[in-house]
Amino acid sequence: MGLDAASLLQVLVWGLVVGSIYVLLATGLTLIFGVMKLVNFAHGELMMWGAFLTILIAQSTGVNPYVAMIGSTAAVGLLGVAIERLGFRPLRGTAKINEIFLSIALILVLQNALARFFVPYFRENAQIRTPYATEYFSLGLVNLRYDFVILLAVAWAITFGLWFVLFHTAPGRDVRATSQNRAAALLMGIDVRRIDMLCFGIGSALAALAGSLYGVVNPFSPYAGTIPAIKAFAVIILGGLGSVPGAVLGGLLYGVVESFGTFFLGGSWRDAIAFVLLIVVLMVRPQGIFREGA
């Protein structure tokens, strides 16, 4: 590929598209970390459950996949609520290692459950097919896929919606309070365990939405969530653990850097960029770009 403006712009668009998916993933992860001080290593598996359920709903009912995403996102959100309520809540107050073991167990359970149902139908890979797969906007220099436009609109509508709720409503204030000082939140009359459950549910739903959108632009398997989730971990460390604005900015930045990195260095570098970036940021600014808990 030549180094002309058109391909650079194409690379930038792709960076924004994957970046938006990372934003959704990382926001969910950081929301959960913020209130529960817990890293759910199975975040990538919830993501693939979202993609899988979207395909299942779309194919079995014939609805537009973007409509099917509403169902899959809600379903995985409820799954998240159940996981918090029945899995992580009883572990609160015990050694941190128990939470780590549980989330690793969840990786195996969620992945294999998916593989059990998935592989007979799709063999190795599937992709969510939308009615607009071959439609483009022509923007002079670049052709923009309809799906990219819809993906960006959905991802950013949800991100701004979440930001508005968190920073401009009373329930959002309760969430931020729980994240910043759990004991004080209790003293204010906040039922912090309900906040945990809620945030785990919302975080899981965001992962499912990220997975569904990922499935529109990438082929996927039950195991495809692992690498994006690792990148989302990198992003929330970059952005400052527990910081939603940090996750949003970090995710977008990460997507663009990865896209350009892949373009200039070659595809084999793609997944290494996360760690290079992570190491550099941790050396320069160990607390992340934003402060924790904001």
Binding site: A170, Q180, N181, A183, L187, M188, R193, G293, A294
Partner: protein
């Protein structure tokens, strides 16, 4: 003394951290409108007592009765909802929120919005410096301002009992004086206050009665004046407090 009016009664409370027991059967009463102090030296268990009453630490044995209801193992947020507020040791503010948002969180238990607005005016009146700093994030306040914010935040819910854990810690004498003026004012206007202090003179100056807590046990009880005069208190605490 008739005890029907007790707002808060602590009966034989025993509390610990894991295997380490800290409170060994503490009993105290707080009548409506009364200001009671618990004084004691470092590590006596004062913070443990208040955190346990507030529901942040489950008791091993004994009980807390608040407004004629046994709190039992009620979660802390339910206890707060019933009107028991704690200004915790170390202030425990929401560091990355503005003064105003911290206060709104304090007022989230108010049933009506109008009440929140009224209470904001009230606490800004008590601590005018907070009004000046209302847009500033709590982490950027001075120690004294943080303590004022912690008290104001607790007052925002119009609690029926206000518990204060060492509001004088780490503050300059001038700031301590202005904070205790506010506390004394609240007490005079009929607030019910349980005040924990290491600084015995300060505590006894505003309290109607006081208890002395020593290594997890209440060892003395009396009116402020009685305790000041009590030789044991003099020797054990006042000397320390003056030094």
């Amino acid at each position: 003394m008739p005890r029907g009016l007790d707002l808060l009664a602590v009966d034989d409370l025993q509390v610990g951290y894991g295997k380490i027991q800290v409170l060994w059967g503490v009993s105290l009463r707080l009548a409506a409108g009364e200001t009671v102090a618990v004084v004691g030296s470092n590590g006596a268990g004062k913070t443990t007592l208040l955190r346990s009453i507030a529901g942040l630490l489950p008791p091993v044995a004994g009980r807390v009765v608040f407004r004629d209801r046994v709190l039992g193992r009620l979660p802390a947020h339910e206890i707060a909802r019933r009107g028991l507020a704690l200004v915790p040791e170390g202030r425990e503010l929401f560091p990355w929120m503005s003064v105003h948002e911290n206060l709104l969180l304090g007022g989230r238990l108010c049933a009506e919005r109008l009440r929140v607005a009224e209470n904001l005016e009230w606490v800004y009146g008590l601590f005018p410096v907070l009004r000046e700093r209302r847009r500033q994030s709590a982490s950027t306040l001075s120690g004294g301002e943080q303590q004022m914010l912690a008290i104001a935040r607790a007052l925002m819910s119009n609690p029926s009992v206000l518990m204060l854990d060492e509001p004088s810690t780490g503050l300059s004498p001038r700031v301590v004086e202005s904070i205790f003026e506010v506390i004394a004012g609240l007490a005079q206007r009929g607030a019910t206050i349980l005040l924990v202090e290491q600084n015995v003179y300060l505590a006894l100056a505003v309290a109607d009665r006081a208890y002395v807590l020593e290594r997890g046990r209440l060892t003395l009880e009396g009116t402020g004046q009685e305790l000041i005069e009590h030789a044991a208190v003099r020797q054990a605490y006042l000397g320390v407090a003056e030094g």
